[in-house]
Each structure stands twice: as structure tokens, then as C-alpha cells.
Amino acid sequence: MAYALQQLINGLTLGSMYGLIAIGYTMVYGIIGMINFAHGDIFMVSAFIAVTAFTILAAADVTSIPLALTFVLIVSIFFTSAYGWAVERTAYRPLRGSSRLAPLISAIGMSIFLQNTVQLTQGARVKPIPPVLEGGVVLWDAPGFAVQIGWSQILIIVTTVILMSAFTWMITQTPFGRQQRACEQDRKMAALLGVNVDRTISYTFMLGAALAAVAGVMVTVYYGVVDFFIGFLAGIKAFTAAVLGGIGSLPGAMLGGLLIGLIESFWSAYLWAEYKDVATFGILCLVLILRPSGLLGRPEVEKV
């Protein structure tokens, strides 16, 4: 029981991170209908920025953890959004209106490019930082097994909940959210109604990148080690999460992320860890066969 609870906590933490990255996929997909394969690498870039920022702080002898976290978050979000914007501007915008595969290939190219740029400029070695948030609370001291939740795990789950609420509010309540949804439904019509489509798309990429940046900082805090290759696996998992939840749907992305985190966690806890990815993809296939638009996706009945 205690064991299951601990695995639940692990799964939720992992899932939150997948969810944060998945939102970036789902937003971009929602608005321009493309799979942004470079999104995982944007996340990787943000983790490197976070490492650099933490190292600077350590050199400057900043010991206040809240202060440090705030600083790193702001720096990382700022620069990562710039990357998100630049990627969209150079690799995707020129391809708007061409076949839906062209931006996909461009994205794959961008992903390879980003990975190698970071490898070149930051080195191929893993980048560790000393633990930022050590310790945690023992939730339940069951005989033989103490269920623990680390401060960093609490930080991740709480941040995710706050960001999700803020996001839902922004998409449903603010003018930007309305423009964003308008572009999702019909870009041409939105443009006719005076929505600046290009700008809305740019902002969407920046927002997605900002969320990836938060995830990047969290990963850096939680695991303490980043390398130029982390974007790939995280990206694939997050994309799977987005599809599982129903691509285009924000709560869906979060739900998908959490589900995948939990599946991975419990599958490797009780069954064969080496087949955990088979389980993830198997469940994805099953869900899609039963619900072709994902869990929370709008059913896509093509009008005849």
C-alpha cells in the first residue's frame, strides 16, 4: 500500500512534467495543425539555460531558494520564449499554407539542429547542478517503508496546478485567449475579423515555449542533471500524452501527461519495467481505437 502510494507520487510528478511539455504540443497543434517536433528540444534548451542560471547564482552566493527559483524561472522563460518565437519565425512561418508534411520535416530538421547546436556550444557532457531543494516530508511511516514526498516533487505538482489554472483562465477569459481560439477554429475568418493571426501564432509558440521552460527548470531542480539529449525522449512522451488526451485540448494534454506518468510508474512498479514503453504505446493505441480523437478531444466527424 505504502509502496503504491509512493509510486503514485512518483507517477504524478513525472506526469506533471509530461503534461507541461504536452501543453506546448497541443497548443501549437490546435492553432496550426502541425506536430512541432522541435518542442522537446526547446524544453532541452530551457533546461540548459536553467543550469547556467543556477550556476551563476551559486557563483554569486545567492542562498535564498525562493529568490533563486524566481530568478531562474524568469530568465529561463524569457530566453526560451525567444527560442520558441525564433523557431516559429524561421522554420514554420515560411511554410504556412503548404502541405501539412512540410512543416513536420522542417520541425524534425530544427530538432536535429537545436540538439547539435547545444552540443556544440555547451558540450556533450552532462551538466549537473548541486541539489537545490533537498529533503522532503515523510507522509506515512509504514512498517518497512516510509512514503516520502520531496520538496521538489511538491514544487512540481503545485506549480503545475497553478499554471494549469492560470492557463485555463487565460484561454477562456482573456482577449488573447479568444483570439487564440478564433484562430484555432478558422484562421481565415479570424483574420477577416481583425485578429492578427501571425502574432497570435507567434504568441502561442512563445507560451508553449514558456511552459516548456517551466518544465525545464523543474527538471533541473528535480533531477539535477541535464544533457543535450533529454529533449528527444521527453518530447516523444509529451507528444504521446497530448495525443492520448486529445490533441488540441489543454486539459486533455494535462490528463494525458498524468496518465502516462502513472502508467509508466505503476507498470514498472508491478510488471516488467523494460516493457513500460510498450505499455504506454499499447494503451495509446487502444484508447485511439476506441476513441479516435483521444480522451478529451473533440470528436472529429468530417462533414460530408
Partner: protein, 287 residues
């Protein structure tokens, strides 16, 4: 093809189609005679296209039946067939309100694709085709000849080798009809074929329809929003509104029916709403 005029080709019985809480077609019954042009009219959102979708297997009706009296296969229950078998086995072929050509393929290719089943059979799992055996060569030549005939009849011969998607709207409509004709239909269902056509093109369309039904004895089911077109060519007209049949008869009878006049003039605003609802349920924005 020379079935007596009185034979019923298709009978729609108590057809109902619900999407969630919305009833798009409500207990509709209709007879379509063989060898004639039957018009279906009604305001926007009355359920005309939904009827077509039920008829051609794209939607499964909630209740009711669609019985086709096929000269060779006997009675066919259309609602039990998947869409491709409706076209292939029951030979009920349709066009679409928002034209659905194969845009990157040429006009000729579009028409050849329509003869896929015949050609595929002749190609014997592509083996005869791969080696270009005489049997297949003959079938291919025949299909090209057939396509060419229709292209000539519809004045599209010069455009045969152009990509279909690059041609003007009115021509695309004609191509779609030509393509449907290449499937060898028993019943041709045209969904607003005159939409977006200029008056001259409209007149040509009328001639074509009269030719198809008069000379070739083809049965045609025609949806039109625009009364004036239907009135000129239809032998028989059904009027639906809010998914119900409100009138039926010859153009003359329908024209003077008070119910019809009311449906068309009286409650325009409400109709727009109902169309919105139908669309929302059917999947929202245009594909």
C-alpha cells in the same frame, strides 16, 4: 434502363436521424420513381444533405429504412451498407455540396478513378495490370473511352489533362457530375449542383439533367436550395423543413402549397439557427 415510369426505385420509410438531442430528420417517408428527376427542396438546414448522407451510407439512420429496388439484385436495404458498397453494389452515386474532387489529379484521372472497381477487377489483383496483359489493356482503353465520352458530352474534353483542383468552380461542378456518371449509377444524387453557377451554366446544367433522364432514362435525385432550378427540371418534388416532409407533388402543386410558402418566407431566421445546430453536431466547421 427502360423501366416503366410508374416503378418506384427508392422508397424512404419513416426515416429518422438524430444527432444527440437534435433531430435532423424526423419520420420522413418519400418515394423516388425510376427514370425521373426527383427534386428535394427545403430551406437551409432542413435536413436535405443529412438525407443524402443517410442514403449513401455516410450516416447510419437512427430508425427507418431505405429500400432500393435494384433491377438486378432485387431489394437492397441501403441503411445496412457501408458507403462504398452503396456506390458499388447499389449503384447509388452522389456528388457533394462542397465539391470533392481529387484536386491534384487530372480531370481524366478523376473519371478513371471513378471506374476503379471495374478496372481493379480487370487488373486481377494488379497482376494483369503489372504485365499489361491484353485483358487489362482492353479494360483500360474502354474506361478511357467512357471517360472521354462524358467529357465530350459535358464539354470538358480540352481540359482532360489539367489538374482538376486548378479549374474554375463551375467547371469543377461539371467534372464532379461527369465523375459520378462514370461510376455507372442507377440513381444519381446531386447535392446542390447549381450552387455557385452563373445563369448560363445553370441553363446548361438543366439541359444536361434533362438529357440524362430523358435520353438515358437515368433516375436522378436532386437537392436544390434554389427553387427556380428544381421547378424547371423536376418531374416530382418533395419539400422538407425541419427534417419533416411538408409537401410533395408536381412542381405546380408544390409551388402553390401554403405550407411551402410559409417555410420559405415565414421563418427564415429560425432556419438559420437550426442549420447552425445541425452543423455543430455534425462536426462544426467546414472540412
Amino acid at each position: 434502363m427502360n423501366t416503366p415510369a410508374t416503378t418506384t426505385l427508392l422508397s424512404v420509410r419513416q426515416l429518422t436521424m438524430r444527432f444527440g438531442g437534435l433531430t435532423a430528420i424526423d419520420d420522413l417517408s418519400l418515394e423516388v420513381p425510376a427514370g425521373k428527376i426527383t427534386g428535394i427542396i427545403g430551406p437551409n438546414g432542413a435536413g436535405k444533405t443529412t438525407l443524402f448522407n443517410c442514403l449513401t451510407g455516410f450516416y447510419k439512420p437512427t430508425t427507418g429504412s431505405l429500400r432500393l429496388n435494384h433491377p438486378r439484385h432485387g431489394e437492397i436495404r441501403l441503411e445496412t451498407l457501408p458507403s462504398h458498397r452503396v456506390a458499388r453494389d447499389a449503384q447509388v452515386v452522389r456528388t457533394f455540396q462542397n465539391i470533392r474532387l481529387f484536386p491534384k489529379m487530372t480531370v481524366l484521372e478523376n473519371l478513371i478513378v471513378a471506374q476503379h472497381n471495374v478496372l481493379q477487377r480487370a487488373s486481377k489483383f494488379s497482376i494483369a495490370g503489372l504485365f499489361n496483359l491484353p485483358g487489362y489493356r482492353r479494360a483500360e482503353a474502354e474506361s478511357i473511352a467512357r471517360a472521354a465520352t462524358w467529357l465530350r458530352r459535358l464539354g470538358l474534353e480540352q481540359l482532360a489533362d489539367h489538374a482538376a483542383g486548378e479549374l474554375p468552380y463551375g467547371i469543377q461542378r461539371r467534372i464532379e457530375i461527369a465523375r459520378a456518371l462514370c461510376v455507372d449509377p442507377l440513381l444519381l444524387c446531386l447535392d446542390e449542383p447549381a450552387a455557385g453557377l452563373n445563369p448560363r451554366e445553370s441553363a446548361e446544367l438543366n439541359d444536361l439533367l434533362l438529357y440524362l433522364s430523358g435520353e438515358l432514362g437515368l433516375s436522378i435525385l436532386l437537392i436544390e436550395h434554389d427553387m427556380s432550378v428544381v421547378m424547371r427540371v423536376s418531374d416530382h418534388i418533395g419539400v422538407i423543413s425541419y427534417g419533416r416532409k411538408i409537401a410533395e407533388g408536381t412542381p405546380e402543386q408544390v409551388k402553390n402549397d401554403p405550407q411551402v410558402i410559409k417555410a420559405y418566407l415565414g421563418e427564415d431566421d429560425d432556419e438559420d439557427d437550426s442549420e447552425q445546430r445541425t452543423h455543430a453536431v455534425a462536426g462544426g466547421a467546414n472540412p
